[in-house]
Amino acid sequence: MCKQTVIELSVNNHPGVMSHICGLFARRAYNVEGIACMPVNGGQTSKIWLLVNADDRLDQMIKQVDKLEDVLLVERYDRGHPVFAKMAEFVQ
């Protein structure tokens, strides 16, 4: 199995942001294994966590995500993130 990593994004919260981000991955045939999203700061912004396989295109993907106008911050968690550990309980 491929090594996985988690990308945490802070984004503007409006309808369409998710399609910008998912579209970036989809049109490069880069599968997103897991996804979670919650509003923060009263709903002006959101946090999105993406669980992805860490193949050699990942650096380029992160640069592309970082270029999106609605993406405010990108962080990478190579050791995983508890949000997906908790979500995993729902699909046991």
Partner: protein, 558 residues
């Protein structure tokens, strides 16, 4: 103040300095047109197809370097714009497309002329907006101009539902017009590292692209080439960055480069890539591109760095800033040995230009037009053999005078882009080289040229075929010319005349050079028809996917 959304849009566009907008009205953008008609100093250019409006905007943006705007209605109006927008994305051109949309309450109901413009434009824009309240326009319109022109420029779509255009808003003051963000800070370590590599290099080559044009840094690029005696190759988008006749200019690299250009790249020990993206038409097989060279890559877009070829040194920044910072660190050198080697490559493997003296030949007509149009001329092309020939031999002298669809390779780009160029620079001659395949893809906007009397000169080389497709079939598909030859001819003279455009036929006149001179000098739009043979390939050529060292044709047989 109390105004409708449509009035706010028009006023904000005026405040951005927009004076000309191409477009077509329809049900969903009529409030916008009504607001423009009632009270505005904006000149509207009514095209015959929304793609034509998009390329007119591109023509204006490419000549001025500033964002240009065009309008379309919802549904088919919006889908017709997509090719022009995708084209702007790949060539980093700042255009803003404002589309009408069905009212908010009807979105998602398959209403008449409803299409998901926002969804369709996500992958082909730098950014896009679906406006959900008239108040938001006060933020979105200036923001669209900022985004289109900042950093690496690109297209922006603003989709405005009809009820948002009609809604009235109270507001106290106008927002400031949108301006480009400040360019990013440079890292001095990166500059010094790059300078040291350049100063150490024995056989460096500058590889200059569209980024040099977009950042207005051709003077700095030339200064750096001259100070370090560094030979320079140009991408298709970079033509004009260094004058064609300059001894350090090696012309366009890649698939249709002169032999000496690609051969010089084989030998260089340092490739200094400035505002380029290592496009496959420029590099050929990437693993064999510049096999002996280390690479320095300078670009404002960090996602371009290490995308195709991993650089030994990256410099992130606006290339104008980078070149200015770099210049004082570059040692004055003459690199006599390397430049002598370049000269011997030029002598042994020159660019062969068949028919250069014949104004009715595919190359000869380009050279003759260049002579007649002068070095102030703006040169547009469509896509195909005529485009590559123009890129190979036209004597470019300055930036922002060469308009061609580089990344997307859109047939149909040339004529409407030329209209935009002529609208943006009415004091300059505008030439459009086209082919019989390309011109038919936006022929309808000859009517626009006629209606507004826009003095573009279209040089139509007609081989009654899709020449570059046919050339690939000739070389790589056993000469099986499937669907690349037209069985019957259209009469382009009658077509032009039917559109009310003056037509000249170099295939049917006593003195082609004199006829060409007359056509170029005549006021108003003109079409100059040049019948040519379909059996005249553009050489040299590198097969798609092959290394640039594997060139076909264009050998020196002296």
């Amino acid at each position: 103040m109390k105004m409708s959304g449509a009035e706010i849009i028009i006023k904000l566009l005026e405040r951005q300095g927009v004076r000309t907008i191409a477009g077509i009205p329809g049900g969903a953008n009529l409030p916008l047109y009504d607001a423009m008609g009632k009270n505005s100093n904006i000149k509207h250019i009514l095209t015959r197809h929304e793609q034509g409006a998009g390329f007119i905007a591109q023509g204006m943006a490419r000549v001025t370097g500033k964002p240009a705007v065009f309008f379309a209605t919802s549904g088919p109006g919006a889908t017709n714009t997509l090719t022009a927008i995708a084209d702007a994305k790949l060539d980093s051109i700042p255009i803003i497309c404002i589309t009408g949309q069905v009212p908010l309450s009807m979105i998602g109901t398959d209403a008449f002329q409803e299409v998901d413009t926002y969804g369709l434009s996500v992958p082909i824009t730098k950014h896009n907006f679906l406006v959900r309240s008239a108040e938001d326009l006060l933020r979105i319109i200036p923001d669209a101009f900022r985004i289109a022109a900042s950093g690496r420029p690109g297209p922006v779509v603003i989709d405005v539902p009809k009820d948002v255009q009609m809604a009235e808003v109270e507001f106290d003051e106008w927002p400031e017009p949108g301006v480009p963000d400040a360019t990013p800070e440079l890292f001095h370590g990166e500059i010094e590292h790059a300078a040291a590599m350049i100063n150490r290099a024995k056989r460096p080559i500058l590889y200059l692209g569209g980024g040099v044009i977009l950042s207005d840094s051709s003077a700095e690029a030339l200064a750096m080439a001259e100070k370090g005696a560094i030979p320079s190759v140009l991408t298709l988008m970079g033509l004009g960055a260094i004058p064609s006749g300059h001894p350090l200019n090696l012309g366009m690299l890649g698939m249709h480069a002169a032999r000496y250009t690609n051969l010089a790249l084989e030998e260089c020990d340092l490739l200094i890539a400035v505002g380029v993206r290592f496009d496959d038409r420029a590099t050929g097989k990437v693993s064999e591109f510049c096999p002996k060279a280390k690479v320095i890559h300078m670009d404002i877009d960090p996602s371009e760095l290490d995308k195709i070829k991993t650089a030994h040194a990256s410099v992130r920044g606006d290339v104008a800033d980078v070149l200015k910072a770099l210049l004082p660190h570059i040692e004055q050198k003459n690199r006599a040995e390397w430049n002598a080697r370049i000269e011997s490559l030029k002598t042994a493997h020159p660019m062969i230009v068949p028919g250069a003296d014949d104004p009715t030949s595919p190359y000869g007509v380009i050279l003759k037009v260049a002579e007649l149009a002068g070095d102030e001329a703006i040169v547009c092309t469509d896509v195909g053999q005529h485009q590559m020939r123009t890129a190979q031999v036209y004597p470019f002298t300055r930036p922002h005078r060469w308009l061609t669809s580089g990344g997307l390779g859109t047939m149909g780009f040339g004529m409407p882009a030329a209209l935009g160029a002529a609208l943006a620079a009415p004091d300059k001659p505008v030439i459009c080289f086209s082919g019989d395949g390309s011109i038919m893809m936006n022929i309808q906007d000859l009517a626009t040229a006629m209606e507004y009397d826009i003095p573009i000169k279209i040089i139509l080389t007609n081989n009654n075929a899709l020449g570059l497709v046919r050339q690939q079939q000739d070389l790589f598909y056993g000469q099986r010319y499937v669907a690349s030859d037209y069985d019957k001819c259209v009469d382009f003279i009658k077509i032009a005349e039917g559109f009310g455009i003056k037509a000249y036929d170099l295939g049917n006149c006593d003195d082609p050079a004199a006829t060409l001179a007359e056509a170029i000098a005549a006021p108003g739009p003109a079409l100059i028809h040049v019948p040519v043979s379909p059996n005249e390939p553009v050489y040299p050529m590198v097969a798609p996917g092959a290394a640039n060292s594997q060139m076909i044709g264009g050998e020196n047989h002296v």
